[in-house]
């Protein structure tokens, strides 16, 4: 008798597993840890104000999220990838190889990248050139490539305080790093004239030489989240960390922010384009899942609605810089317009 009960319950379990596997009623999202706070705020409001269940949101980085997104089409794959950078051609190719042909690209707003140090320490006014000169692995001296050996910020730029160079930059798995490389290091490389010298010296390798950072402990790569960077600064008061604007705004009691090229970061200066280091944030939607996963389109529309992503909405309040072209983005989602 007991054996029979055991067998039937085991059979029932498998039967249930077979049926459950074909019915998912909540949206699943994976991707960027920068987008995560915004996505959770939207998901929370979406779950509270609609009859749809709250979407499930995973983080882990833009690249990891896009990889999961491109795993294929079906209920056991994610519906949306959050990304703090644009999807790469190589990733689109992987997507297509796995049958994810139709992707909708939605730009949800802009995020600023800020440079912050301990609240008790000295204030900084940086330019991209300062960062390049402080962090480049090798610099050109007298027509030769030599390892960078500056140790104090005032050796890079006399206007900066005489403080040890100790920086915490995002690891390469973060989308933030790409923006940092492009808008700060490469820009500094160009502005300082180093790019021209490097091109004369190394030809095609110049671009790569520009963005290779020091490995002698002056530029520490942080693979974890901003909380780890914050902890590093707490233990090394000379440290300067790279953060997202919203993270800084939640920790203004511990951090002070540096200006970049004379502009202090704020939602206004980023929206106007004055503050140089910002990037758009994206969500990528799997078109094949629209109409299959309940609430997917509604979630996307809710995300970029004026009430949520517009000026004065909860996302802007948290630190997202609203996209001036929000109406165009809303049209993209409404028409389910695919990215080409």
């Amino acid at each position: 008798m007991s054996r029979m009960i055991l067998t039937t319950s085991a059979l029932a379990l498998f039967a249930v597993s077979a049926t459950a596997a074909t019915a998912r009623d909540q949206v699943q999202v994976a991707g960027s840890s920068t987008v995560l706070p915004y996505a959770t705020i939207v998901a929370e409001l979406f779950g509270e104000n609609t009859d749809f269940p709250t979407p499930v949101i995973e983080s882990g980085g833009s690249s990891a999220g896009l990889k999961r997104f491109c795993d294929g089409v079906g209920e056991n794959t994610v519906d949306i990838a959050n990304a703090s950078r644009r999807i790469k051609d190589s990733e689109i190719a992987v997507c297509q190889a796995n049958g994810v042909n139709d992707i909708i690209e939605v730009q949800i707003g802009y995020d600023g990248i800020v440079f912050a140090s301990d609240i008790e320490g000295a204030g900084f006014a940086f330019t991209p050139t300062d960062w390049y000169k402080a962090l480049a692995a090798e610099v050109v001296v007298d027509g030769k490539l030599v390892p960078n050996d500056v140790t104090l910020w005032n050796e890079v730029n006399p206007d900066l305080p005489a403080q040890e160079i100790a920086t915490f930059v995002p690891g390469t798995k973060h989308g933030t790093r790409e923006v940092f490389d492009e808008k700060v290091i490469e820009q500094g490389c160009k502005d300082s004239g180093a790019l021209a010298e490097l091109e004369a010296l190394a030809g095609e390798e110049a671009g790569k030489l520009c963005t290779s950072l020091r490995t002698d402990g002056r530029a520490v790569e942080i693979d974890g989240d901003y909380t780890e960077t914050l902890a590093r600064i707490a233990s090394n008061k000379d440290g300067i960390g790279v953060f997202g604007l919203s993270f800084y705004e939640n920790n203004t009691a511990k951090l002070q922010v540096a200006t970049m090229s004379g502009i202090a970061p704020s939602t206004e200066t980023i929206a106007s384009g004055e503050y140089p280091v910002s990037r758009p944030l994206y969500i990528y939607i799997k078109q094949a899942h629209l109409g299959v996963i309940p609430g997917l389109k509604e979630y996307a529309e809710f995300f970029i609605s004026d009430d949520i992503a517009g000026p004065g909405g909860p996302l802007a309040e948290y630190g997202l810089v609203p996209d001036p072209e929000l109406a165009a983005t809303q049209a993209v989602v409404a028409d389910e317009a695919l990215m080409n």
Binding site: A21, S33, A39, T40, G47, E58, N76, V78, F247, Y318
Partner: protein
């Protein structure tokens, strides 16, 4: 004669005086005792440090600042049609409710006669958690008759205000903080004096779901505890029978040959495999191949089952081995079959050891995060899973995962939450380990 000679100390010396050699020997023993004591003390010190740091930052999570102000649920604002139709009521979003609550709080502050220079209406409204509008909206949707009435329920205070009551936020930090102003803290002081705000026991921490970065004060462990419970259920239901069956076969029935030796080595090996490997396996087999849903306790439970099996098999085999052969022989001697001997005599005697092993295996599985990373359980989940069996396939979080998640959040209030969650996890582990020790003490037989 030779016997007497053997017992005599061959060296000269008095019994009353310690020889050098004895002195050296006792000194060596004293040194060893000191080392041993030192080792124990280091362990205790490390534990004490861990507990103090977790307790000092985590105990605050069990108390929460609540506002006690009457809220008038205005019909004009919340039910424009006046029909009390739930579908109509749903059209008013939490933003609409937020305005009603803000107005009510402003009223309450004015009525209490609290005056703080330069305090704006928005600053007063920001004293309340962003969770409160959802709380009232759900109340109204559940009981539309509340409209037009004045409701008085405890309302969550904003995380920064909560931090002020717990000493995490001070006037100095508030002056630098862009999310709270010293004026708001003065208002909070005045409200506490008038009994409009207090720190109460935080039941929601144990039963509420996770919350976004904008409302750390509302974040709770409900979904995580339920998810962990579901996974433990699956591990228990699957790993215990499979593990015990495998060990009984290997120990009592299987021939001792190369093949069983190989299996034995592999089981011991599996017990030492890093847990993330089981996560990779789970992703490949259960999600990509079998098509089970992501973030589901079912998949998490299956992965943890695989991880726990070797532990249970090793513990079970050890306790089966500990049953003296005489028991088996006596049973066989009076005519029992081998199966009868095992199930009627050996297994009951080995049961306490098996249960202890199973509980320790479960405790290990309860604290695992790494394998859950790959199967989508390290996620923001706010919906409670349904009751089993269907609920086993709904997305859920898990206790250690929730801790990991909260340590990554930007708002400093989550540090307290994470430490509080560690305390909850430690409490569960303590209960499980105590149960294991109790079982062993109570039922174990020695020969």
């Amino acid at each position: 004669m030779s016997d007497r000679l053997r017992f005599e100390d061959p060296r000269p010396g008095s019994l009353l005086e310690r020889s050098d050699r004895t002195a050296r020997r006792s000194a060596a023993e004293a040194r060893f005792r000191a080392y041993g004591l030192g080792a124990v003390l280091i362990g205790i010190l490390a534990l004490a440090m861990l507990l103090t740091s977790v307790l000092s930052s985590g105990l605050g999570a069990f108390r929460q600042a609540y506002l006690h102000v009457p809220i008038y649920l205005s019909e004009a604002a919340l039910d424009k049609s006046g029909t009390r139709d739930v579908e109509d009521l749903k059209k008013v979003t939490t933003i609409g409710y937020g305005k009603v609550i803000a107005a009510a709080l402003n009223n309450a502050v004015a009525r209490a006669g609290i005056v703080v220079d330069g305090l704006t209406d928005k600053e007063i409204a920001d004293l309340i958690s962003r969770e409160a509008p959802a709380q009232f909206r759900n109340m109204v949707l559940a009981d539309p008759d509340l409209l037009g009435q004045t409701v008085e329920v405890p309302i969550l205070a904003n995380g920064r205000i909560d931090g002020y009551l717990k000493g995490r936020v001070t006037m100095e930090t508030a002056a630098l903080d862009s999310n709270v102003s010293p004026r708001q803290l003065q208002l909070a002081d005045a409200m506490i004096q008038r009994g409009l705000m207090s720190l109460d026991f935080n039941r929601a921490f144990l039963i509420a779901p996770d919350a976004s970065d904008q409302r750390p004060e509302a974040a709770g462990l409900g979904v995580a505890i339920l998810g962990s419970a579901y996974m433990m259920l699956i591990v228990l239901v699957l790993a215990l029978p499979i593990g015990v069956a495998a060990s009984i076969y290997l120990e009592e029935f299987a021939p001792k040959n190369r093949l069983t030796d190989l299996i034995e080595v592999n089981i011991a090996n599996l017990a030492a495999v890093p847990s993330i490997v089981f996560g990779i396996l789970g992703l490949a087999i259960f999600i990509n191949f079998a098509g089970l849903p992501q973030s589901a306790p079912m998949v998490g439970g299956l992965v943890l089952t695989l991880m726990t099996l070797p532990t249970i098999i090793i513990a079970t085999r050890a306790s089966l081995k500990a049953v003296p052969p005489s028991i088996r022989e006596a049973a066989l001697g009076v005519g029992a079959s081998r199966m009868q001997a095992v199930f009627h005599h050996v297994l009951p005697l080995a049961a306490p050891g098996i249960l202890t092993g199973a509980i320790l295996g479960l405790a290990q599985a309860l604290g695992e995060t790494a394998p859950l990373l790959l199967i989508g359980m390290v996620a923001f989940v706010r919906e409670f899973p349904d009751a089993p069996p269907e609920g086993l396939f709904d997305p859920a979080s898990a206790l250690p995962v929730q801790i990991y998640n909260w340590t990554q959040r930007a708002d400093p209030a989550f540090v307290e939450r994470a430490s509080g969650a560690i305390l909850v996890l430690l409490a569960f582990l303590l209960v499980m380990n105590a149960a294991a020790i109790l079982l062993r003490r109570r039922f174990e037989r020695r020969w």
